[in-house]
Symmetry: C2
DNA sequence: GCTGATCGTCAGTGATACTGACTATCTGTG
DNA sequence: CACAGATAGTCAGTATCACTGACGATCAGC
C-alpha cells in the first residue's frame, strides 16, 4: 500500500506544507527558506554565514544566495567579523526583525491550518516524533 | 526555535530518509521513485500512465520519463488500452514484480533503521498522523 | 614563516518538476 | 454522421534547488 510508505507520506506532507506556507508568506515578499534564515539569525548574536548554513542544514554555497536576497531586501546586512576576517557576520536589520516577527506569526498560523485535522496534543506528538527520528543521525 | 518548525522537520526528515532509501535500493538498480511506480502498478490490474501519475501525486509529464526508465530496464511494458486507444496501459513484467517484492522488503527495512529511535507503536502513530494531515486537503 | 585548513564566492552540473504545444483519440451535440 | 471540445501521451523549454570543484583571502599550528 502506497499511503503506508514513509517516503510517500513525508514527501507529500513536505511539499503540501511548503506550498501552503509559501502562499501565506508571499504578501511579505518572503519565501519559507528566507524566513528560516531570519529565524536562525534572530538569536542573541550575529552568526557567520557558515554557522547559519549548518544550523539550517543547507550548504554554505546555498547560503550565499539566501543572504544575497535578504540583503537586497534590506532585511540583513553583512559585516566583517573583527576576530576572523574570513567571516561575514550577518545581522538582522530593524526591518528584518519586524519581518521575522510577522513571518513567524504567519508561519504558526499556516501550521495550524495545515494541521487542522489534528489536536494540539497530536501536533506536538507529531513534531516530537519527527524530531526524535532526526536526532539519531 | 527552528527545530520546532514543521517545515524544517518535514524537509529534513524527507531528505534524510530519501537519501537512506536511495542507498538501500541502489544495489537493485532502482530509485525510490521507480519503486513507488512499481508499487502503484502492483495492484490487481494495469493502469494508464495518467492514473499511475495521479495516484503517485506526480505530473503526467514526469511519469513519461519514469515509465521510460522502467521499460528500458525491462520491469514494465506499455501496451495499448483496447477500450481507449489514447491510453497506454502499463503492466509489470515478471522481473518487475520480482524487483517490486525485493524492493518492498528493502524499503521496509530502510524504514525500520531510519525510525530505529521509535517503537513500533510510535511508527504507526507517526504515519497515521501524517496520513490524517494529508487526507484533509 | 610555511603548510594546511577554513570562509565566502562563483561557475558549472544534475536532478526534479513544471508549462505549453503537438498529435492522436475520445465524447457529446446537433 | 460531422464537428467541437476535452483528454492521453509526448516532447522541448524553463525554473528551482542543491551540490561539486575551484579560487582568493585569511587563519592556525608547527
Amino acid at each position: 500500500m502506497l499511503a503506508d510508505r514513509l517516503g510517500y507520506l513525508l514527501k507529500h506532507a513536505q511539499s503540501a506544507f511548503a506550498e501552503r506556507s509559501a502562499a501565506a508568506l508571499a504578501p511579505l515578499g518572503l519565501t519559507g527558506r528566507e524566513l528560516a534564515v531570519l529565524t536562525v539569525l534572530g538569536g542573541s548574536e550575529a552568526l557567520a554565514q557558515q554557522q547559519a548554513a549548518s544550523r539550517l542544514g543547507v550548504d554554505r554555497t546555498t547560503m550565499v544566495a539566501l543572504v544575497d536576497a535578504l540583503e537586497a531586501k534590506g532585511l540583513v546586512r553583512r559585516g566583517p567579523d573583527p576576530v576572523d576576517r574570513r567571516r561575514n557576520l550577518v545581522h538582522l536589520t530593524e526591518r528584518g526583525r519586524e519581518l521575522l516577527d510577522e513571518g513567524s506569526r504567519i508561519h504558526a498560523e499556516a501550521e495550524r491550518t495545515f494541521l487542522a485535522a489534528l489536536t494540539a496534543d497530536e501536533v506536538s506528538q507529531l513534531k516530537s516524533l519527527l524530531r526524535r527520528a532526526l536526532e539519531v543521525r
